[in-house]
């Protein structure tokens, strides 16, 4: 299993591509800035959103029960899933009961987290992702690399090749307009022939039992309104207390995500249409554990806008796949260790702790503080990098003894002067992507001793 550093190194081999990836995401970040600066009370909105989510987390038990009661009253079937497996089994059992073997899906990071597609395929159920970006990565047999822009790592020529192979577009066609039209025709047929649709949930309202799904493409609506069975999967933290609170979140969400004032569609599902079955699956999968971690519970406020990824200097230059988890970037790096501390021990270290993520977060999650705190937990629990621990011990020994320190400094300067190959090689991580500096002739201590008079 490769860690973030190794995966980032592979991504960094193609320097031009890294620059392109970096600039594209920074452009999205700039659009977010322009959109947010047009709202005079943007900071007050962020604070309100953060506080509303705080209230939700502090009373989540009651809100869940209230939401369930309202949703059932609205004619929706409510399911509870403790973990990914239970969630996947529930989806499978609903489909099985209807004898359905094909399902269309709109974007749901939760189902990525649960590896639903893989599970259903093993059960002989065909799943088609209908968000264009998700369809592209699905055809490429890759996970999404970004929660809002799933194929941001792919060039249009590569997408052209994928569409040529799978959807029969002209060989060499890479015009986004034509490729999108190809997907439109293909997916329209899919929407019309699927009896079951699964969507994610952006917000669920405890007061009314309704849920809101936001898309630009209209794919969630196409799937849901043409289906006999609509399944909506949501993490238990997606609740908000009242309908009026949607105003705060819908003002923040898309401006933070892409710089649009709102998504094209913000659909409010309250009751199934006559003859339709509607299901909601409430999924815990580690969230109640994270809720109990005082230092990390704020991560559950996340509304999945992706702003922290677009601004992150590490994400932009290492790509989403280097995080080897469903939700990449800074927010993913504070969510993943809760699920599996050992497997994701590297992620809180994949950051410069510059704090830009915290500054753009629309619900004011203290992301970089949590990254720093996770590092401490991970090292304390014994999941830290062993080489780094040894190096730190050697460093502590050197720095605690003036004599050892002087000898080490002199030795270092001599090696760099007379045997530069000893440090200018691939074994030294600092030599990768940069040249080692010229060694100074003497240490500051030596210079000071000579010049102080």
């Amino acid at each position: 299993m490769k860690d973030h550093a190794a995966l980032a190194e592979a991504f960094n081999k193609d320097e031009q591509r890294v620059d392109w990836h970096d600039e594209t995401l920074w452009w999205v970040r700039q659009k977010r800035d322009r959109a947010s600066h047009q709202i005079p009370d943007w900071e007050e909105l962020r604070e309100a959103a953060s506080q509303i989510k705080h209230n939700v987390l502090s009373d989540l038990g009651n809100y869940l029960e209230q939401f369930e009661k309202q949703a059932i009253g609205n004619g929706i079937t409510v399911h509870w899933a403790a973990d990914a497996k239970e969630h996947n089994d529930i989806v499978h059992s609903i489909l099985k009961r209807h004898g359905i073997t094909q399902m269309v899906k709109s974007k749901s990071m939760l189902t990525e987290e649960c590896h639903l597609n893989h599970f259903l395929e093993e059960q002989g159920i065909n799943v088609v992702d209908s968000d264009l970006g998700e369809l592209i990565v699905q055809l490429a047999k890759e996970p999404p690399s970004h929660i809002v822009l799933p194929c941001i790592h792919k060039k249009k020529e590569e997408i052209g090749d994928i569409f040529h192979e799978h959807l029969g577009s002209e060989k060499g066609e890479s015009d986004p307009q034509i490729l999108t039209e190809t997907a439109r025709v293909h997916l329209r047929n899919t929407f019309l022939t699927r009896r079951a649709a699964l969507t994610g949930v952006n917000f669920a309202v405890a007061e009314t039992g309704e849920f809101v799904v936001c898309t630009n493409e209209g794919n969630a609506d196409m799937g849901a309104h043409l289906s006999d069975v609509h399944i909506a999967s949501m993490g238990i933290e997606k609740l908000i207390p009242k309908r009026k609170h949607l105003s705060v979140f819908l003002r923040l969400l898309t401006r933070s995500a892409t710089g649009q004032p709102i998504t094209t569609y913000s659909s409010h599902f309250k009751r199934p249409r006559p003859g339709q079955e509607m299901h909601i699956i409430l999924v815990d999968n580690g969230r109640s554990v994270q809720l109990g971690r005082e230092d990390f519970r704020n991560s559950l406020k996340c509304i999945r806008c992706g702003a922290c990824m677009n601004t992150c200097p590490v994400y932009r230059r290492s790509g989403g796949h280097s995080y080897h988890t469903a939700v990449a970037g800074p927010i993913g790096s504070i969510l993943a260790p809760n699920l599996d501390m050992k497997q994701y021990a590297d992620l809180p270290f994949a950051s410069t702790l510059c704090g830009s993520c915290t500054n753009v977060c629309p619900v004011k999650i203290d992301i970089h503080d949590q990254l720093y705190k996770w590092r401490q937990v991970i090292v304390k629990e014994g999941y830290g990098d062993k080489k780094k621990a040894a190096a730190m011990q050697a460093m502590a020994y050197t720095l605690s003894s003036p004599k050892v320190y002087r000898i080490a400094g002199k030795a270092g300067r001599l090696v760099m002067k007379y045997a530069p190959f000893a440090v200018n090689n691939g074994l030294n991580p600092w030599y990768k992507q940069r040249d080692m500096p010229e060694p100074p002739k003497e240490s500051f201590g030596e210079w000071y001793a000579k010049n102080r008079s």
Binding site: T24, V28, E47, A48, Q51, I52, N55, S58, L60, G61, L64, E65, N74, A81, A82, D131, L132, G133, I136, L149, P150, C151, K155, K156, P176, Q177, T180, R184, R188, N216, E217, G218, D221, M222, H225, L226, I236, P241, K244, S247, V248, R251, T258, P261, I262, T263, T264, Y265, S266, S267, H268, K270, R271, R273, P274, S288, V289, L291, G292, R297
Partner: protein, 199 residues
């Protein structure tokens, strides 16, 4: 213990001490800027997200702006427009799949929002939920006096109403998933025309 009981017990064990939700009435009760500014903002934002805004003085005026290809299927919920095409009258509760070939749908929006140009369309106005998504082109009609300033005013306006399904629509269906190049007409309508009734 059922999964439900377990999750609720785990949540209650983990949740922090109760904190009240913030008061957002300040936004809800904010004085609306004058109608003219709101309308101008609405038009400007709508243009930015790819909608076409057309001011009309009457419903009948809308007809002069429609460019309907003979034989194409048009559906509308607005009685004064039933004569724009054969069988244009929208029947409630149609089979969704049967709407696959709709070229143009003309629907009434309850109100619009200046800050993001979104229009509130409810199931009652759609007849069949899938209609505003499955049609090739969509036209929404809104009264100039029904444009509110922001989302807070919007939700305040929906208070007390009860819809099995309703949606905010802001612009045509779109995607920028291929190298961030904006393409209109992803899965839903390729265009959105907004007729603003000024009288």
């Amino acid at each position: 213990m059922t999964t439900r009981e377990k999750i609720l017990a785990d949540v209650r064990k983990s949740q922090p001490p109760l904190v009240a939700a913030p008061d957002i009435t300040l936004w809800e009760n904010r004085q609306q800027v004058d109608g003219l500014t709101v309308l101008e903002t609405f038009k400007a934002v709508a243009g930015n997200v790819g909608s076409k805004v057309i001011s009309v003085e009457s419903i009948a005026d809308i007809k002069t702006h429609l460019n309907i290809i003979p034989g194409s299927r048009v559906l509308t919920s607005i009685p004064q427009l039933f004569d724009v095409a054969t069988d244009a009258a929208l029947a409630a509760g149609a089979t969704p799949h049967e709407l696959e070939n709709v070229e143009l749908a003309i629907l009434q929006a309850e109100f619009g929002i200046a800050e993001n140009s979104a229009l509130w369309v409810t199931e009652k106005q759609m007849g069949t939920r899938v209609l505003p998504f499955i049609c090739q082109h969509l036209a929404l009609v809104v009264n100039a006096g029904d444009i509110v300033a922001d989302m807070h005013a919007a939700y305040k306006r929906t208070q007390g109403s009860d819809h099995s399904f309703a949606t905010f629509i802001a612009g045509p269906s779109k995607t920028a998933d291929i190298e961030q190049s904006l393409v209109l007409g992803a899965h839903g309508p390729r265009s959105l025309s907004i007729f603003v009734l000024t009288t």
